[in-house]
Amino acid sequence: MSAEATQPGSVPFLSTSRQLRHRQIRGQVMRLLFLAATSVGILALVVLLWTVLDRGVPWLSWHLITNMPSRKPAEAGLNSALWGTIWVISLTAIIAFPIGVGAAIFLEEYAPKTRWTKALQVNISNLAGVPSVVYGLLGLGVFVQFMNLGRVVLAGALTMALLSLPVIIISSQEAIRAVPLSLRQAAYGVGATRWQVVRHHVLPAAFPGILTGTILAVSRAIGETAPVLVVGASAYIAHRPAGFLDGYTVLPMQIYGWTQRSQDEFKNGLAPAGIIVLLAVLLLMNSFAIILRQRLSKRSQL
């Protein structure tokens, strides 16, 4: 390389060192800006959690879990709400899991790829995007009023099951689709029927993914307020449900009720404490899902 060629500016198509520095600075600035944008979300998360913890921790106690709601802040608790959540969500899972997985199996293994099955698929995707409050209205109209169940656990669970179904179906479909074709071919090759292939090979292989997806869908249902509110969970229930046809409240409902009280202890003490309990429950479930998935995946590497 001749001496002239290395002089900045002397070779026409190379930028000057100053131009280059500008571009580099601009690149770095933008990189930081992008990083900052990403961090804003995390920052908001931190502030949110800090606020909730700061206000709620002083109100955390075993009484919070064992007491029933009360007009007196010192005596109020989440017991009825926790039991209500357990009742409703258990029933939701029992209803939604088999139906959701069944639908996923049908769509992936049995249904021929016609216009109709494609329409079915689109329908399920659209249902996943319907606001949860509309599911509440559906529940109100059909289960509470038309079937005359009233504002009971069963109505709430049926509504939440319908809400969770599209999510369970979609995640189960993904898990089933991930099972390699070669496994199915091998099973068909020894003269297995479709159900035998599904039951003995496809489902066991897809199970970790299906289970994880269901647990995540159910844990989302735990945090949903709008549909249960519409369907009639009350914020003033002070007993645990006696049966599926009994009145009930759930955790987010109780929290909502407390935010509506005028007393500061409810609004800025018990409500954030309730939120901590709710977040703890969700954290527990999500961790459980992740651990379960890891353990099951490892086992199926057999």
Partner: protein, 317 residues
């Protein structure tokens, strides 16, 4: 060598031929299973039909009392008052205003986060930031609502502008924006990552900087996915209930000042059902009319977002 001769020389042939032709043995139970599974799938159709029937049928009852044109074009919503008026425009305006402000926060931040995660972040940084954003998406909306009501309004907004009302649009919009931010970030990032490496390499090969490649090559290529993500986020914001119920108030009015309260469609539904409402009353039926409108809006947006991707998806080959 003919097949007939082969057949007659094998005594098992008749039995085998029989088995091959008519094996009803296994068919019965297989058929039953297939029908059961199909029923599960068809239930999803039943859900959609159920939603449509319930909303329409109950809304129809509403429109017996209140004419559709009054509902759709009226600008006063005083439903819970005696001789109330039912013009839905203030509710729709509230919903859309909140959604729009939320998007002002969520779109730029979400998109920049997506670009960062997809183009800039090292795998290690990504493994920290991405779950962090996902965590944000997993927080129940009531927590966001509480945060908006008891922190954003009194601590943030009031200190910036003391004239902020205790219930106001801005607090709700900020919370909704933060809530949908991970959704935009995640879906846009998927769209960005789907752009093939070869496109980036071609641009780098021409001497472009990372910034130029990211913003001028990759992002436009992923545009259909990004737009679709944004539309879905708007749909989510429109359907959001608890945040607006807690933070933006129950005053159905038309105003341009985001420090004032406004009521969203979803907020109205919560307000009514938080109190006592007589079944069969106009107010009761108004819930379903508003719900129907909400359903149509979000459905239209969801379909639009799917259509957008299908129509404008870049063919990379």
């Amino acid at each position: 060598m003919s097949v007939e001769a082969a057949v007659s020389s094998d005594p098992r042939s008749a039995e085998i031929a029989q088995a091959l032709r008519g094996s009803g043995r296994r068919h019965g139970s297989e058929r039953v299973i297939e029908i059961l599974l199909g029923a599960c799938a068809v239930l999803s159709v039943a859900t959609t039909i159920g939603i449509i029937i319930v909303l329409f049928e109950q809304a129809l009852q509403f429109f017996r009392t209140i004419p559709v044109s009054d509902f759709l074009f009226g600008t006063k919503w005083t439903a819970l008052f005696k001789d109330g008026e039912f013009g839905v425009i203030p509710l729709v305006a509230g919903t859309l205003y909140i959604a729009a402000l939320a998007m002002v926060i969520a779109i730029p931040l979400g998109l920049m986060a997506a670009i960062f995660l997809s183009e800039y972040a090292s795998p290690r940084l990504r493994s920290v930031l991405k779950p962090g954003l996902e965590l944000l998406a997993g927080i129940p909306t009531i927590v966001y609502g509480y945060f908006a009501l008891t922190f954003i309004t009194p601590n943030v907004l009031k200190s910036i502008s003391p004239a902020t009302a205790p219930y106001n649009v801005l607090a709700g919009a900020i919370a909704v924006g933060v809530m949908v931010l991970p959704m935009i970030a995640s879906l846009s990032e998927d769209a960005l990552r789907a752009v093939p490496r070869s496109l980036r390499e071609a641009a780098y090969g021409l001497g472009a900087t990372k910034l130029e490649v990211s913003t001028r090559v990759v992002t436009p290529a992923a545009l259909s996915g990004i737009v679709s993500a944004v539309i879905l986020a708007i749909s989510r914001a429109v359907g959001e209930t608890m945040i607006v119920a807690l933070a933006t108030g129950s005053k159905a009015q038309l105003t341009a000042d985001p420090r004032e309260p406004m009521q969203a469609m979803t907020g109205y539904i919560v307000q009514v059902l938080s109190g006592d409402v007589a079944r069969g009353s106009t107010v009761y039926y108004s819930l379903f009319a508003v719900g129907l409108l909400l359903f149509c809006m979000t459905l239209a947006m969801n379909i639009l977002s799917q259509w957008f991707v299908a129509r404008f998806r870049e063919e990379y080959q």
